[in-house]
């Protein structure tokens, strides 16, 4: 994907939130990324290492990524099933009408900050 752009967005959001919360530094930022997204973990880490240094608030911040494995529900028979990126058909009844329950997340969940008080 375009991990530099993603990290830029995450850092901006984290720094703004940290300032509002009166943080003296950000310890870690937690993301949730579904396997169905076009995100390469190594590129994300590489961009993070390079870009976090641009602001003293994030200079030592750790990036924590929760990976979410895909799960869908069959709209024909109601079965819920885990799947990979290539097999989205319902394994119970074979229907192609399914809806994603998870696996498409691309969210900033929370962050750990340090405050002076």
């Amino acid at each position: 994907m375009h991990e530099v752009g993603l990290v830029d967005g995450v850092l901006k959001c984290a720094i703004e939130t940290a300032r509002q919360a009166g943080a003296s530094r950000i310890i870690s930022v937690r993301l949730r990324v579904g396997d169905m997204r076009e995100v390469v973990r190594e590129s994300l880490d590489f961009a993070w290492e390079a870009m976090r240094e641009d602001d003293p608030l994030t200079a030592e911040a750790e990036l924590v990524v929760e990976e979410v494995h895909p799960r869908s529900v069959c709209l024909a028979c109601g079965a819920e099933f885990d799947h990979d990126r290539w097999h989205l058909r319902c394994p119970v009844c074979g229907s192609g009408e399914t809806s994603a329950i998870r696996g498409r997340e691309l969210d900033i969940v929370n962050m750990e900050i340090e405050t002076p008080d």
């Binding site: 994907m1 375009h2 919360a21 989205l88 900033i108 929370n110 900050i113």
Partner: protein
């Protein structure tokens, strides 16, 4: 010193998602049907747009195009010559289009032609099988084009974009005899990857299969505008 957790719970691409929602409302207001055309470079996006435009125009629809390229206005010129209002976006080095770029292009179409006079907009995304997937542009339909010379294994290698597509077109079927394209393998992969999206085999330049694709598209447009 104190440590604490601050909840954020925000999509990373929330800015783009807001822009996409804004665009969707705007397209709905003028009844403009928007197609995000995706493929790798050279698979025939522009030829497919031109050939589709001819058939939609014959059905009484006015089509415009927003061209996304790293550089040049070659594709926009080709569409202008075909009589389509065309806006070129040069992304510099960016490998996909984003909502803010589309908003500017739509402003330009509105100022130049009037959005209320445009029935269909083709957004020709930057040729890329990865990055455009995660950027909603407020479109009604994502149309993915694979061309025969690229090989039947592309959906296995780039599942995201084929899964995301609302329709999968296989272009350049006229040259199939010269290539080792395994149609059964391609079909089997898509049957598991994206069973719901219709598939059409076309040759945009020779016209093969274009009527079937365009009649399906016309049905989608009518349904969306009803």
């Amino acid at each position: 010193m104190a440590e604490k957790t601050v909840d954020i719970a925000t999509p990373i691409l929330s800015r783009n998602e807001r822009l996409a929602d804004e665009l969707r409302r705007r397209f709905a207001e003028t009844g403009t049907y928007v197609i995000n055309v995706l493929s790798s470079p050279g698979s025939g996006k522009t030829s497919t747009i031109l050939a589709t435009n001819e058939r939609l125009r014959a059905a009484g629809l006015t089509c415009a195009v927003i061209e996304g390229d790293i550089a040049s206005d070659v594709d926009a010129q080709a569409c202008k010559e075909a009589g389509m209002p065309s806006i070129q976006i040069n992304t510099g080095g960016l490998c996909h289009l984003e909502g803010n770029m589309i908003r500017e292009a739509v402003d330009a179409l509105d100022a130049g032609v009037g959005m209320d006079k445009i029935d269909v907009i083709f957004i020709e995304n930057v040729g890329n099988l990865v990055c455009p997937v995660d950027f909603d542009l407020g479109e009604n339909l994502s149309a993915m084009i694979l061309s025969v010379p690229e090989g039947d294994d592309k959906p296995v290698k780039y599942p995201g974009i084929f899964q995301h597509a609302g329709v999968n077109l296989l272009n350049k079927v006229d040259v199939a005899p010269a290539f080792d394209f395994d149609l059964d393998a391609y079909t089997a992969t898509l049957d598991n990857l994206n069973p719901e999206a219709p598939r059409f085999q076309v040759s945009a330049t020779k016209g093969t299969g274009m009527d079937a694709w365009c009649s399906w598209l016309l049905e989608q447009i009518s349904a969306a505008r009803a």
